[in-house]
């Protein structure tokens, strides 16, 4: 899939000497990368590689100890409406599907008339329009994850960050979610998502950021990554040989 270009872009995402450690243990260690192409960037790596942490920093939810991460030279703050974050396990308010979306729009002071339009659009895209009056917490796992995406999408963000969005889903839920993610990317929203699934990365990625134990091992176009990995670690990971333990 050729990468479309996002107009008036928050890109490039520049990561420079980014380091985070907790209790003396380095979680991210001098990570450097520049992400400037649109499409889907997959942050790939085994558990504990620092993928989620990197994504949290990209949304301003965590602050690095050293180094910097900037969107078109700006340090991220969670309130910025052009960027949305999708958690692996969503938490919904004890309200209807529709009210959960209204909540986000009201947080960002979107006028009521426009809210209805945006909500309908987001529900259409995610196939939840029939469930709009149902309580969000009574949805099935797959539906909840679609609502999670709808809630991120409703503000029409330029960038969507997804943290292992399919980790809790069954195979058909995974397929639906991947279709949705592709659709969002096609509609010119930059996608950056984490996964530990090679297959998923193969199906979705335009480019791959490969992390291992807090270090960036490779950042390459997906085709290159899967055809001829540049590093030994990446090759091992592809061959299923990379273990978390020492």
């Amino acid at each position: 899939m050729p990468s479309p270009v996002i107009p008036a872009s928050p890109l490039p995402l520049k990561i420079q000497h980014l380091s985070v450690s907790r209790r003396g243990k380095p979680l991210l260690d001098d990570v450097n990368a520049t992400i400037s192409s649109a499409g889907i960037t997959i942050i790939l790596g085994p558990n504990g590689a620092g993928k989620s942490l990197l994504l949290h920093i990209a949304h301003g939810l965590e602050v690095p100890d050293r180094g910097s991460l900037t969107w078109n030279q700006d340090i991220p703050k969670p309130q910025e409406p052009w960027r949305a974050f999708v958690f692996q396990k969503p938490v919904f308010l004890q309200r209807s599907v529709q009210a959960n979306l209204e909540y986000v729009l009201s947080l960002h002071k979107i006028a009521k008339a426009r809210q209805d339009l945006l909500i309908e659009q987001a529900l259409q895209h995610t196939g939840l329009i029939q469930l709009s009056k149902q309580s969000a917490r009574t949805l099935s796992g797959g539906e909840q994850q679609r609502l999670n995406v709808a809630r991120a999408w409703v503000l029409e963000p330029k960038v969507m960050l997804l943290d292992e969005p399919t980790a809790e889903l069954d195979p058909s839920g995974v397929a639906t979610m991947e279709m949705l993610i592709r659709k969002i990317a096609q509609l010119n929203t930059k996608i950056i998502m984490t996964t530990h699934s090679l297959d998923q990365a193969r199906r979705l990625a335009n480019d791959i950021v490969f992390l291992h134990r807090g270090r960036l091992i490779e950042h390459t176009p997906a085709k290159v990554y899967f055809a001829q990995p540049k590093t030994r670690l990446a090759a091992d990971f592809l061959a299923g040989k990379l273990l978390d333990t020492d």
């Binding site: 969670p78 409406p81 938490v91 909540y103 917490r137």
Partner: protein, 234 residues
Amino acid sequence: MNDFSQAFQKALQLIIQLDPDLIEIVALSLQVSLTAVFIAGLIGLPLGAALALYKFFGRGLLVAILNTFMGLPPVVVGLVVYLILSRSGPLGALGLLFTPTAMVIAQVCLVTPIIAALTRQTVMDANNEFHAQLRALGAKPQSMMNTLLWETRYSLVTNVFAGFGRAIAEVGAVLIVGGNINHNTRVMTTSIALETSKGNIELALALGVILITLSLIVTSAVMSARQTAHKIYA
């Protein structure tokens, strides 16, 4: 045992006949405790929420004090309020001692820590659940607090009723600051104590039955409200 069943029958008669003395006592009880709980809620709900959400110097100490005060012996609270309101006390000039107002004040002191401590726990649990998600959605501290209070509204109401349960059932504080004066500061619990010691078991039992029934009504109302909410919102 026979005495007991006779007394119980007479008690039920008093209730069914809507005995005017009985009504007066019940009405004053409700008036005092509801007023106290209303005021305690106005103080305790925001105080508890603030303790859950804001970090400030001395917060830990305040929480410890609050949790200790949850179990304050009513007689001690009564004594302290008595000293403050008595003629030689700092607020003696107001002449509030042995009035329903004094009883309200004592019960506010008893109930506020309960409501505040329970509210703190409720809001803190909700904050643990929602904080990261709401922040990621772009909520600023003020709207985050509003959301948490709204999401926990059923639990908060339950907390307030727990405070009501404490207020309506306690005897020590209202006895000391109210004085159990007939037609003036006599409430259910003080009457039960008095009538029992006078051997007037019928009235005492009637009041006991009413007190328990009231608690039952309040508790079931709260439970059914929670269940309905749970059905709707899961």
